[in-house]
């Protein structure tokens, strides 16, 4: 759940960060272009003014001073200029060259030799400012040039330093704000999704707590009218319907049981009375077998209804803590004499008490069923081994014999109702009942033939909470 909140917030933040970054890149480019446009406009204007001045000024001794002063003045009106800069004005240079390229006039920082070399290397077109990288100076110049009538050329250069500084400060500020916004956005998205998902989590927890035995509870609903609230309401309505059909199933099985048991009770009572009236009568034998048949019928009825309810996940359980180890010892004590009469041997392989949470009556009947099955179907002089194992969540009862195993044709359908071996005279409910009880407890049952021959049935049951956990560690020494 938490990972979902993380995922959603990460993706949302990523999309948000990319989007804002894209917007900034466009904005940055637009601003850079705009600044350059302004510089270019200024350069073109100034270079024309200078040309005009140079043109008009007579070429006498004063020429250099007049043009130089005008150029210097122009340099003080540079656009985008950082006014705090107190260093000598090196952001602007003015250069006039003769037609052959020899310098005539230089106004600017230094002697202008490097600038002249750079200009000579690049062919600067008139009327169109260009970038110029001067050796020894990190920041490029923007240079506009104009050709005068006497063949000399005037170059006016403006350093891009201030322009770049403005853009850099813009970037730094943006980055700072961007990180802040992205973090804030992540926080908000994460908090919202986490809250939303924690409501979903609450619903999941409540819903998983509602098992087959407890259908009365409902998932928590809030007064809100959003999707999660709708989910909760829908779940609750579904639970209503399930509870309803469950109740109907119970009503049907209960009334079926009632309608069959009442006449069975009357018949059994009457048979018993006629038997006790004269136990040596001629019909005594048939009355006795009728009573036995009746008891088998009752057992069949109970098992069928249990299996039917368990298949529908509707078996009603009263869970208590039962020591599986002790139960098996009592069962072996009970079945042992019958088994040894038949020449069967039975061994229990267990490391002491193993508490499971189960319905006592159902568990007793299930284990009795296992033993009955073996007693009825295992041929003489074979042996049965029962092993008890446990891991952190479940106890496993494994029953293995070295008999002929299950008929191969029924093997894939062992846990279905009415499936029984060729020679079986039961009603084919035994394994279905075992499976049903295991499932009703949240466990499972498996049955298969073993490799060297014989049958293997494994039943897992949930452990009771009070287990000490000693069982699994002690098992290695027990077997």
């Amino acid at each position: 759940m938490r990972s979902a909140a993380w995922r959603i917030s990460l993706w949302a933040t990523l999309a948000f960060a990319c989007g804002t970054m894209l917007v900034f890149v466009f904005l940055h480019r637009f601003m850079a272009k705009d600044i350059q446009r302004r510089s270019d406009a200024w350069l073109s204007g100034e270079v024309e003014v200078l040309e005009d001045v140079a043109e008009r000024t007579p070429k006498d001794a004063l020429y250099v001073r007049v043009v130089g002063e005008v150029a210097e003045l122009a340099g003080k009106e540079v656009p985008n200029r950082d006014l705090s800069e107190s260093a000598p004005n090196d952001s602007v240079f003015f250069l006039q060259t003769d037609a052959d390229g020899a310098p005539r006039l230089w106004v600017g920082a230094g002697d202008g030799e490097a600038h002249r070399k750079a200009i000579r290397a690049v062919n600067i077109l008139p009327d169109r400012p260009m970038d110029l990288q001067v050796k020894g100076i990190g920041v490029p110049f923007r240079v506009a040039s104009i050709r005068m009538d006497d063949g000399s050329r005037i170059y006016l250069g403006l350093s891009e330093r201030d322009e770049l500084k403005v853009l850099r400060s813009l970037r730094v500020r943006f980055l700072f704000l961007w990180i802040l916004i992205v973090l804030l956005g992540f926080g908000i998205v994460f908090f919202t999704t986490w809250r939303m998902l924690s409501r979903v989590r609450q619903i999941t927890e409540a819903a998983s707590g509602i098992g087959h035995s407890d259908l009365n509870s409902r998932v928590p609903t809030t007064g809100k009218n959003d999707e999660v609230a709708h989910l909760a309401l829908t779940l609750n309505r579904m639970l209503d319907r399930i509870e309803n059909s469950m109740r109907q199933l119970h009503t049907i099985t209960d009334s079926l049981a009632h309608d069959l048991r009442s006449p069975l009770t009357a018949i059994r009572g009457k048979l018993e009375m006629s038997l006790s009236a004269d136990p040596h009568a001629e019909q005594a034998e048939s009355i006795v077998s009728a009573i036995e048949e009746l008891d088998r019928l009752t057992d069949f009825l109970n098992k069928s209804l249990d299996v039917a309810e368990a298949k529908a996940d509707a078996l009603r359980l009263t869970l208590t803590e039962i020591d599986l180890d002790e139960l098996l010892r009592v069962m072996i004590d009970l079945y042992g004499p019958s088994m040894s009469e038949k020449g069967l041997q039975i061994h229990l392989c267990s490391a002491g008490p193993l508490m499971v949470a189960a319905d006592a009556a159902l568990l007793h009947r299930m284990v009795a069923n296992l033993f009955d099955n073996e007693l009825k179907h295992l041929p003489a002089s074979h042996s049965i081994t029962i092993r008890l194992q446990s891991d952190e969540e479940a106890a496993t009862l494994i029953l293995e014999d070295d008999g002929p195993g299950f008929d191969s044709e029924i093997c894939p359908h062992l846990f279905e109702r009415r499936v029984k071996g060729r020679d079986s005279n039961g009603h084919g409910l035994g394994l279905a009942f075992i499976d049903a009880v295991a499932r009703a407890h949240g466990g499972a049952a498996t049955a298969a033939n073993r490799e060297p021959g014989g049958a293997r049935i494994a039943i897992t049951l949930p452990l009771a909470s009070s287990n000490s956990g000693l069982h699994s560690s002690a098992l290695r020494d027990a077997c």
């Binding site: 209960d254 009770t265 018993e272 009375m273 136990p279 009746l294 009263t318 009795a368 009955d372």
Partner: protein
């Protein structure tokens, strides 16, 4: 001993009434809750047998109502339902008992006796049981017949003790399973018979009068005369 039998099924009512009377009880019968209420309030009964599925009201409602009216006699609940109601469990903890239909008459009678015994003042718990020439020492867990010690396993001793405590009365296989092994199961194999057979081999030696009798279709009885 006066019993009130509340059961709406005519067939069941009549055979229960007959066999209870044969067992020496005085029986009044009611077919619905209202009649039962009237009878129970008018005359004191030693015990009530109440079916859960009455035509006019639920059996448990009736029992709770009677308790409110001051009827304190123990109740044996008969139920044809599949699951044991929580309220039945409550009553069971309160000293009442329940029996699922169909049941063996012997079991019904045994449960009645238990309920009535619970209600009477407890006598001193005996440390020795004696049935004819069979003697059980409950403290030393030893049994002897005609003075000769029997070699019994502890489980066989428990079984024999149960038979002795019910000497002269029929015990069914499911009663034995319930009391000796603590399980309400119905095996479709002869596990109990084999135990009885082995016990009989040790108790009823050659030339001795056989004590453990099999009543086919019903159960076993330890003869007391």
């Amino acid at each position: 001993m006066r019993l009130l039998l509340v059961e709406d099924e005519v067939d069941i009512q009549s055979f229960l009434r007959r066999s209870l009377e044969e067992a020496g009880y005085q029986v009044d019968a009611a077919s619905d809750g209202k009649t039962a209420e009237k009878l129970a309030v008018e005359a004191p009964y030693d015990l009530l047998i109440v079916d859960l599925g009455l035509p006019d009201q639920d059996g448990i409602t009736l029992i709770l109502k009677l308790r409110q009216l001051g009827v304190a006699a123990p109740v044996l609940i008969l139920s044809a339902r599949r699951s044991v109601d929580d309220r039945v469990r409550g009553l069971e903890q309160g000293g009442d008992d329940y029996l699922t239909k169909p049941f063996a008459l012997a079991e019904l009678l045994a449960r009645l006796r238990n309920l009535l015994k619970r209600n009477s003042p407890p006598g001193n718990e005996a440390t020795r049981l004696r049935v004819l020439d069979l003697e059980l020492d409950l403290l030393r867990r030893e049994a002897s017949r005609s003075g000769e010690l029997l070699q019994l396993t502890s489980q066989e001793f428990v079984l024999l003790e149960y038979l002795c405590r019910n000497a002269g009365r029929v015990v069914t296989r499911s009663m034995i399973l319930d009391k000796v092994w603590g399980m309400r199961i119905q095996p479709d194999t002869n596990v109990v018979d084999v135990h009885i057979y082995r016990l009989r081999g040790k108790v009823d030696g050659k030339g001795q009068q056989p004590l453990i009798r099999t009543l086919r279709g019903v159960g076993y009885v330890l003869k007391d005369r």
